[in-house]
Each structure stands twice: as structure tokens, then as C-alpha cells.
Subunit: 194 residues, 4 copies
């Protein structure tokens, strides 16, 4: 992962990976079928584990809002903890889809379902509003967290990423509009556009 993070999947050579691992080139092939398989196994073990950790973390919360908070915080924490994983995950994600499609799909589903369940629970608890397009909420949470991690990585990872969980949650919950001015009038306004 260190090599993939530094060079990117395609620019990384088996020789380089082997050297970094302190073994001979051929040794790599005792543990991985081929170059692709290094990514596939990474996603099958390490990354899947991380994503299952998200689920366990969320389930410790007592209400939906706290679940969402814990999910976001844990996500940021884990990626902050392992920068190489973060880089590979962020930078190679779409490339990886071509290679490790089933693994990626499974992880994405896991995450996506988790958000869906949290939102639905929040709606039952009355803390989350009913008139939501669930798919868009998922995309907002996933996209925003991803972008937050990306920005952090490109900044060189110098600030505390996990500390952004709280303000992100606030943003998701309250949105950006002024409570007085916009909340009520918005109901009819969008009808004019499009």
C-alpha cells in the first residue's frame, strides 16, 4: 500500500513493492496471484475489516443522530490513522473498480445500507425529516466525507481530520440556510426553476 500510495497502482512496479517489503520479486507471487491480486486482497481483508468496524461503531449509539456522528467520526479516524490506505482508497478507487469490482461493490453496499438504516431509524425517532430522497442523502454523506478526506490528504494531512466529524454532522443536519429566512419559504420556491 505504501508503494501504491506513493506511485499509484499503474506506476508501481512489482520490483519496487518487493524491495519495499524486503523480499525478492518472486516472493510476491507466493502470496499474490498477480499485481491486481495485491489490491484485491487488500480490499478483501484490511479494507473490509475497516468498513465492518464502521458498522460496529455505529451500532453502539443509542439514537440515529449519534449513529451518524459515530459513523462519520470513525470513518475520518480510520483514514487518518492509515494514510496509505486513505491515499490508495481515494486515488485508486475508480481504477480499482475495474480490478476489484465485486469487493468494491460489497463494501460500498455495506456503507450505503448503513446510512440508509440510520436515516430510516432517525425518521422513526422523529429526528430526521420525512421528505428526503434517501439516495441523495447517501450521496451527500459519502461524497462529502470522501471529499473531506481528499482535501486533507492533499493538504499533506497536517490538521486533525477526525475533529471535522462534529461540524460535518451539523452541516448535514441543519444545512446552510438561515433558519428564519429560508426554511419556510423554500417549500414553494423551487417550483419556478427548471
Amino acid at each position: 500500500m505504501r508503494v501504491f500510495a506513493k506511485q499509484g497502482f499503474f506506476n508501481a512496479t512489482i520490483s519496487r513493492i518487493a524491495r519495499e517489503a524486503g523480499v525478492a520479486d518472486g516472493t510476491i507471487y507466493l502470496y499474490f496471484r498477480n499485481k491486481d491480486d495485491i489490491l484485491i486482497q487488500f480490499f478483501n481483508y484490511k479494507a473490509k475489516q475497516v468498513f465492518q468496524g464502521f458498522k460496529r461503531e455505529a451500532e453502539q449509539a443509542s439514537d440515529a443522530i449519534e449513529m451518524l456522528f459515530r459513523l462519520i467520526r470513525r470513518h475520518l479516524e480510520e483514514f487518518q490513522k492509515d494514510r496509505n490506505m486513505a491515499i490508495v482508497y481515494q486515488s485508486e478507487f475508480h481504477q480499482i473498480r475495474r480490478i476489484a469490482e465485486p469487493q468494491i461493490r460489497e463494501m460500498y453496499q455495506l456503507y450505503s445500507d448503513l446510512i440508509a438504516r440510520i436515516i430510516e431509524q432517525g425518521q422513526q425517532e422523529g429526528s430526521i425529516r420525512q421528505d428526503l430522497y434517501l439516495g441523495l442523502v447517501k450521496r451527500m454523506v459519502i461524497g462529502t466525507v470522501d471529499e473531506t478526506i481528499s482535501t486533507w490528504l492533499h493538504s499533506g494531512g497536517r490538521y486533525d481530520l477526525a475533529a471535522l466529524a462534529q461540524p460535518l454532522l451539523d452541516l448535514f443536519l441543519r444545512g446552510i440556510a438561515s433558519p428564519r429566512a429560508w426554511q419556510p419559504s423554500l417549500n414553494d420556491e423551487p417550483a419556478q426553476q427548471g
Copy 2:
């Protein structure tokens, strides 16, 4: 772009690109310094143009909320219009950063500044709340729109992407919390962040 979209940057060969363009391999090198330069020029011309279009679109609006709406809608529209660009942009973005870093950075800056100006104007107009971490708002908008495009691409692009602009805007403005239950009690929690 068609070839990059279909095969990915690294798997695309100059031969394939030349064949798709109906010219000889060598001809490519009369217009591009090398393979990387194809991407660089793409971002320098086509993509930059698209992003400048976002700016012009936003500036036609009379208030910040409408500006944000127009930005999002135009973004979705443009990517819906040119799927190849969308795929290259979404799938190769992080890979491309290694190759066309300055071009990407410039475009990103353009977009980022546009959002910043919209938010600040909204705050002056009183439509956007004051207690926002501007950087996070940017990440939310960019990340969510990106993720929305990605999801659309992976679905095969069968539904109307631009139609999501309105519900996305609503989500950004109002957030996901129930107005009664959460708005007040959350006020003191995130007040610490700037």
C-alpha cells in the same frame, strides 16, 4: 476522451486513440507532446471552458441561493451532456492529479472560489447562515455533486441527472434534521466551530 473513458488512462494505447481519431499513430505526436499531454490539453481547453461556463451561469442569477442552484444544475447538465468527459473526470481525477496537477489545481480553485463567493454573498443577503465553516461547505457541495455524478455514471446514466439539482439544493439548504426537533438543541453544540 472516448478511449480514456472506455479503457482508463493507463490501459488506453496511443494506437487505439489514433484509430478512434482516424489518424495514424504518429499524427498524434504532431498535436500532443506525449500521452500525458493529451490529458493536459484536455484540461487546459475543454474542461477549463466547461468550468468557466459554470461561473458565467452562476453570475446570471440575482441572489446567492439561485446562484448555487444554477451552479449545481449546470454542473450536472454539462456532465450529463458529455459522458466521456464525465467518466474521465470522475474516474481518472485522482490519477490525473499526478499528471496534470497545475491544470487540475487551477480548475479546482476556480470552482472552489465560486462556491466561496456564493456562500459569502448569501451570508450578506441573510439567506445563508453565518456560523459555517466555509471549507466544509465547499467540500459538501463538491463532494456531493461528484458522488451524485459517479452514482449516475455507474447506474449507466439512465435517469435525468440534471433533475437532481433541485433536491440537492434543498438538501444543502435545509439539511436532513426535522426542523422542530433538532434545530434548537443543536444550536449550542456546533457553536464552538468557526
Copy 3:
């Protein structure tokens, strides 16, 4: 073929073949799909041509015995003319079967059918005896000629191979037994063995 003849198919490297051909390694792949394909194309063009020459040669004869003679002589002549082909053909034949099975099978069939037709014609003409197991006759002709070529190759190819056509024909026609002593009595003799 020169390289295959000298080193054998498996020990021959593309680099060596390219150097011998006076081109770069990559150039080989402009004309051959892969290493195997070099053999396959050789058999598809050059060798098939040679074998079809056998057929034309045989057809010029007026009777079966002369046909057989011409076939054998032409076979020896062609292999004598192109030692590299001879070596590759003799040494790599069985290896080649694994690679170019259809091509080999076709050529073998061609040759085999030719002998069959000659023998049958000879039987009609009365010059070849009727009580023959046709399959064995084919194997005798093919095997003996092959072995004759092999021996010639291993001797360094110093004597005139084609000159052996006449004595070989004699051997095939008359056998090795003394005419007086054995011809008649053999009919019942073999019954005792086995």
C-alpha cells in the same frame, strides 16, 4: 528457422531470433502474434507448400511405382535443400504437435492420403500386392523416410540424401528376404508365434 534449428524451440529466445533477423525484438511481434505463431505460420506457409509440392511431383508419374519413387525422392530432396526446415521438422515435430496441431494434422493427412492413393493405384495396376495392411505401409514409408532424414542430419548432412530414394524404393518393394528361401514359406510360418 535457423535459430529454432540451432537451439530448439524452447531454448530459442525472441531476442536471438530478432538479432538473427536483424530487427528489434518488438518487430517480431509485428509479424507474429507470439513465439508459437512463428512455428504455426511456418507450417502454414512454407511447409504446407513443400508438402503440396510432393503431391504435384507424384502426379507427374505414369504408374504407382514411379509415383512412390518420385514422392520419396522429392521428400529427400526438399529436406536436403533446406536443412533448417529439416531440423525443425525432425526435431520439433512432436513438440510442434502441441502447438500447431491443426496445421500438422492437415499436412500429415495430405501425405498419408497420398501414399494411400499410390498404393491403391498400384494394386489396381497389379504392381503392388493385394494382401497389405495399408496403414502399416504408410507407417513404413513415412517412418523410414523420416528416420533416413534424421540419420542424415545427425551425420552432419555430408552425403547425398536424395540418392537414397532409389535403394529405399527397392527396399520397400522387394523387402529384405531372399526371394527363393522365404517368399513362399512365410505364408504359414508366422502362425506359430504370439
Copy 4:
């Protein structure tokens, strides 16, 4: 030999051979110097033994014709009995020459000398005609038997190979020509060769 027979010498791996033998890869090197040595030892022991068996078999006969018959029959029997040996011997023979040249040469000599002695004895006994090119007779016997085994192997070995000894012997002795028609007129043609 089982592995060599199935995969060919060059495609066979030490790992595969070791697995088939039920030992570890390294163990192979306690008994064989290297991969080539497996072939060399095979020819030095097993194959040499088989060929010496031919000699003993032939020596049990009372006259030259029977000796020849026994040689051929034993040859076919042994190769029928051990298909793996047959395949390795037939398919890898020419490849093997590069590796186990001295061993092959020795065996070939053994066989060749045996035929020579049989023929010479037959000539003294009066059963074999005098005007023969001994070298060609050897090539005929060896080549034909080889080709017969090859054909049998490629047919899948479904018929009784050893049963072909008798018709082969008949073919060698009497040739293919009709006794009346050809025997006399041919007499003067090949008379020039020794």
C-alpha cells in the same frame, strides 16, 4: 516420466514432478542434479534396461528371422506396457538428444548393432538377401517401428500394438511389390547400390 509425458519436458515443472512423486520440491535435488538429470538418469537406467531386454529377447531365437520378429514384438510390447516411457521417448526424443546425447547415442548404437547382427546372420543363413544397404535396413526397421508406436500413441493407444509385429515383419521381409510383376525387372535397377 508421467509428468514429462503429459506436459512435455520443457513445460514440466519441478514442482509438478515433486507433487506427482509425493515429495517436496527440494527432495528432487537429493536424487537428481537438476532437471536435465532426471531425463539422463531415466535413459541411463530404465530405458537402457528396456533396450538390453530387446537384446536378450532376440538372442533367444534360433534364426535371424525369428530374432527380428522377437525384437520388433518386444519393442512394441515394452512401449505398449509403459505408455509414459513411450510418449517421452517418442515425443521428446529429438529434444532429449540435446540433453542426454551420450545416453541416447549409446542406446541407439545398441539397437542399431543388434539389427546389423541379425541381418548379417540372416544373410549367412540365406534367409536375408545379400544385396542390401545395411544402413537403410536399420533405418527402415527403426523408423517404421517408431512411426508405428507414434501412430498408436496418437490414436490414444486403444488397439493392440504388439499384434502389429507379425504384419510388420511380413512387410519388411516381402516388401510391397507383387512377387510376379516386379521382382524380376527391379533386379537390375538397384543393383548399382551396395
